[in-house]
């Protein structure tokens, strides 16, 4: 029989591949699934065999992925409708040349030219495409870095509009003529190649006005590339240059690529005319800067030197001078105090009290000092900028923490932190917080000490339980919480804390009270009542309280048991989909109905029995709302067969037995002459291997035959033979025992020989018998042709 019509004709079918699609990618698609069907190119049309015939798997894969990529590329390119994102051929070619993958994404927008700085925000940014002809020329446009110093008109702002080019050599030109022409060129500002000339021309004009000869011309040459060449040649700038550019100029660097987003030249261009920089003088109030105490090692001191930099913020000297002086005095005093106590030996538990005192004072904000400190802190904060605020808070908190809980091992940590803090402050250029925090307490000193301590004492009891490093930054908030907690703790301080008003335990209390009162005195009764209440609070209760819970459980358990007895399981939440998937079919419905019926009857019987017993807790099972669904899956033959593992199951098709020689009578079942069994292809194949089986199968027949033919004589012999024939395979005979004497060995070998002899005779007999049978069968089937095989007639 031929192959039935294939389910899908591959030549006329379209194949799609399921591709993961990023849900953020195409929001317009409605199904919102994770995958999308991406059509594979038409190569699948007829070139590959049908999957039923086990096609070449990897060939398909390779081609699939190729097409996926191309599809992805076209898709992503289409997704971006922005003009700057579209991949022109040029851009694409450049991408490929740079080695970026060809997937439709413009990687060049993440690149920038060296020395150019970031792309300006307005532009598309990134690297501009270099047209091919330009690539080989080198960089075309030039940039003028030399003239920037002297001219006011040429500012950095102009960079964004204009491009500059640096030329390699300049042909000798007349500066003046060039200047005039360049001035005209300057009017047309937007031109790429001309504007540089304009700027240069302006510079050159200025230079020419000065009259300095070679240097100015070289300066006009400006951007002019080589210092030596420009100095020597002294060419003129201007439109002549523009002309010259096309002629022989070769430029070194250009801003054209990034549309002039330059911050500086990409190539070092030595300035031809040295212009001193603008006066860079700032007045810094060094008193605000805290230099690290000299007690530290030299490295730290050296580092500290560099921290007083030119970038330090300028301070107003005249505004709050008086205030500054005061503050600085305080700072100095406190610093002296700290250094003296702090420095040499850190293990000393020194100045803990002092720290505590003035820190507390600072926190409490007691008196003018506190306000002053707060104001100064505020001012300092405003000065130092936002980033310092956190530092200040940390510093304040840290110092509080340092005051409240004094544990020796934490001093090191604190000092380190303080040093770090100071460093930070120095960098920012203000030590407002640190300095002023230190200032007022030292001033207030002993006067506010007691008050400070007392004021902060209430919160600190709980605060002392904190571990210092973790809660430094949230100290302030926690202070309030601690105060609250202390108050609450005071409330809960009495022994009657376990008293409950719950009605549940009232009975117990009452009973306890009654009993106790009868037996003992009143005081004892009260004590016992208290004890009972406490026990109740601790969770002790009688088991009888939970009687209804137990009953519920029992009934449920009975229900599940009954269900399981029927082989069905309860519907879980996860079975919901199964419920949906399997349509209710009539026989399942009928079965369910029958079962429910039985349940109801059983419930009625149980209820009757239970009613007699008086246990009313049982819910009638009919009221149970358990729904049991039998999973009825529809299988077809292919699926069922395919359930078995492929390791063992190698399915073959069952075909009709085909006769090789062409059918000619005799029916479909033929018995083989030898065995008398019907001949199938299997038996023919296994003829060699299954000799043993055949022998065993055929063993019955000769016995029959022999019983028929030769009954009396050889029976005894036969039996003995058959007994001994089996003994060749007898493991007892075949295996050698460990300690064997010579006689035993002889006996064993003799026995084996005997067995073999018997087997040989038995085999010969069997062979003879078969031959006889075959000839007999042939005689019987003499009328029929040989080709039809021989049938063995069993009488």
């Amino acid at each position: 029989m031929g192959k039935k019509k294939a389910f899908i004709d591959k030549k006329k079918a379209v194949t799609y591949n399921l591709v993961y699609r990023d849900p953020t990618d195409d929001p317009e698609d409605e199904d919102g699934g994770q995958g999308t069907l991406a059509p594979i190119g038409g190569h699948r049309g007829g070139a590959h065999p049908i999957p039923d015939d086990y096609p070449e798997y990897y060939d398909d894969e390779g081609s699939v992925y190729d097409s996926e990529y191309s599809l992805a590329m076209s898709r992503s390119a289409a997704a971006h409708h922005d003009s700057s994102y579209s991949l022109s051929e040029e851009r694409r070619r450049e991408l490929l040349a740079l080695g970026f993958p060809d997937d439709g994404y413009d990687y060049l927008k993440h690149l920038r030219d060296l020395g150019r700085g970031r792309a300006p925000a307005g532009k598309a940014g990134g690297v501009a495409t270099i047209p091919e002809d330009q690539e080989l020329d080198g960089f075309d446009d030039d940039e003028d870095g030399a003239d920037g110093g002297g001219d006011g008109e040429w500012q950095e702002g102009s960079d964004s509009e204009e491009d500059f080019t640096i030329y390699d050599q300049e042909p000798a030109q007349n500066p003046n003529a060039g200047a005039a022409a360049a001035a005209a060129a300057a009017a047309a500002a937007a031109q790429r190649s001309k504007l540089d000339a304009a700027a240069l021309a302006a510079a050159a004009a200025a230079a020419a006005a000065d009259g300095a000869g070679p240097s100015t011309s070289a300066g006009g040459g400006g951007g002019g590339g080589r210092a030596a060449a420009s100095a020597a040649a002294g060419p003129g700038p201007g439109s002549a240059r523009a002309a010259a550019r096309s002629a022989a100029a070769r430029s070194i660097a250009t801003t054209a690529r990034t549309q002039g987003s330059a911050v500086g030249p990409s190539v070092y261009v030595p300035a031809v005319r040295l212009v001193p920089p603008k006066a860079d003088v700032k007045v810094v109030d060094a008193r605000r800067l805290v230099v690290r105490p000299t007690g530290h090692d030299e490295a730290a001191a050296a580092a500290a030197l560099t921290e007083v930099t030119a970038l330090a913020r300028q301070t107003e000297l005249h505004g709050k001078r008086g205030k500054l002086y005061q503050d600085m005095d305080e700072v100095e005093k406190s610093m002296a105090a700290m250094e003296n106590g702090n420095d040499p030996n850190r293990k000393e538990v020194v100045e803990g009290d002092e720290w505590a005192d003035w820190l507390d004072e600072f926190v409490a904000g007691g008196g003018d000092d506190g306000d002053g400190a707060a104001a100064a802190v505020g001012g300092g904060r405003a000065e130092a900028g936002g980033a310092e605020d956190e530092n200040d808070e940390d510093g304040g908190d840290e110092e509080e923490g340092g005051g409240t809980s004094e544990e020796p091992e934490e001093y090191e940590e604190e000092d380190e932190w303080r040093a770090r803090h100071r460093r930070r402050q120095q960098q920012e250029g203000g030590t407002a917080a640190g300095g002023t925090a230190a200032a007022p307490p030292s001033q207030a000193g002993p006067a506010a000490a007691a008050g400070g301590v007392g004021g902060v004492g209430a919160a600190s009891v709980a605060s002392s339980y904190w571990r210092r490093p973790e809660r430094r930054d949230r100290r302030e908030g926690f202070e309030a919480l601690d105060a609250q907690f202390e108050r609450l703790a005071v409330e809960y301080d009495d022994d009657e804390i376990g008293a409950l008003d719950d009605g549940r335990y009232d009975d117990d209390d009452g009973e306890g009270d009654d009993d106790d009162e009868e037996e003992e005195g009143g005081a004892a009764a009260a004590a016992a009542a208290a004890a009972a209440r406490r026990k109740a609070a601790a969770g002790a209760c009688e088991i009888s309280d939970f009687a209804d819970v137990l009953d519920e459980f029992l009934s449920e358990h009975r229900a599940t048991e009954s269900l399981e007895a029927e082989g069905l399981k309860q519907l879980q939440v996860s079975d919901d989909v199964a419920l949906l998937a399997s349509r209710p079919d009539p026989e399942a419905l009928a079965a369910t109905r029958a079962r429910l019926q039985r349940q109801v009857e059983a419930a009625a019987a149980a209820a009757a029995a239970a009613g007699a017993a008086g246990a009313g807790d049982d819910e009638p099972p009919a009221a149970m709302r358990t729904i049991v669904v039998q999973e009825a899956e529809r299988w077809d033959c292919e699926s069922v067969l395919s359930l078995t593992s492929n390791l063992e199951n190698h399915p073959g098709k069952i075909v009709e037995p085909q006769r090789r020689t062409g059918g000619r009578g005799g029916g479909l079942i033929r018995l083989s002459a030898k065995t008398g069994m019907p001949v199938t292809r299997g038996s023919v194949r296994d003829g060699g291997g299954g000799g043993g089986a055949v022998l065993a199968a055929g063993g019955t027949i000769p016995e029959e035959g022999e019983q028929e033919g030769e009954e009396g004589e050889e029976e005894g012999g036969e039996d003995s033979e058959s007994e001994e024939g089996g003994s060749v395979l007898d493991p007892a005979m075949l295996s050698r025992r460990k300690g064997e004497t010579a006689e035993e060995r002889k006996a064993r070998k003799a026995a084996v020989k005997e067995a073999r002899r018997n087997q040989r005779t038995a085999k010969k007999e069997m062979k003879n018998m078969f031959r006889q049978q075959a000839t007999r069968a042939q005689k019987q089937s003499a009328g029929r042709s040989q080709a039809a095989g021989s049938t063995y007639v069993i009488p």
Binding site: F7, I8, D9, K10, K12, A13, V14, T15, Y16, N17, L18, Y20, D31, G32, G33, Q34, G35, T36, L37, I40, P51, D52, Y54, Y57, E61, V577, L580, A581, D636, E638, S639, S642, L643, N646, L647, H650
Partner: protein, 121 residues
């Protein structure tokens, strides 16, 4: 007027979507995921009352690589036997194309490659 019945007819035809023969081929190295995706697809298809056949399990292809363990030639000749099993399942459906798209877009497991072949009718 002549165009109207044509239009209506087109509309009627569009309403009853054409049912295609669709074969979904699932391949994977991971049987568990593959079976899960198969089950999901068939469940989805049955929910939509489609005629489903399958999953038909193709024989597993086992790709074996037997290499010598030793980096050099010295030593007893011990071999590492690596194998990769590729499982393949087929599901046949009769359904309109968009329904299939919905079904396949729902359940995706990593490592399972899904191919959908639609017979043009």
């Amino acid at each position: 007027m002549a165009s109207k019945p044509g239009v209506e007819k087109a509309g009627v035809e569009a309403e009853a979507p054409q049912v295609h023969r669709i074969r979904i081929t699932l391949t994977s190295k991971n049987v568990k995921n593959l079976e899960k995706v198969c089950a999901d697809l068939i469940k989805g298809a049955k929910e939509k009352q489609l005629k489903v056949k399958g999953p038909v399990r193709m024989p597993t292809k086992v790709l074996r690589i037997t290499t010598r363990k030793a980096p050099s030639g010295q030593g007893t000749n011990t071999f590492d036997r690596f194998e990769m099993r590729i499982h393949k399942r087929l599901i046949d459906l009769h359904s309109p194309a968009d329904v299939v798209k919905q079904i396949t877009s729902i359940s995706i497991e990593p490592g399972v490659e899904v191919e959908v072949t639609i017979a043009d009718m």
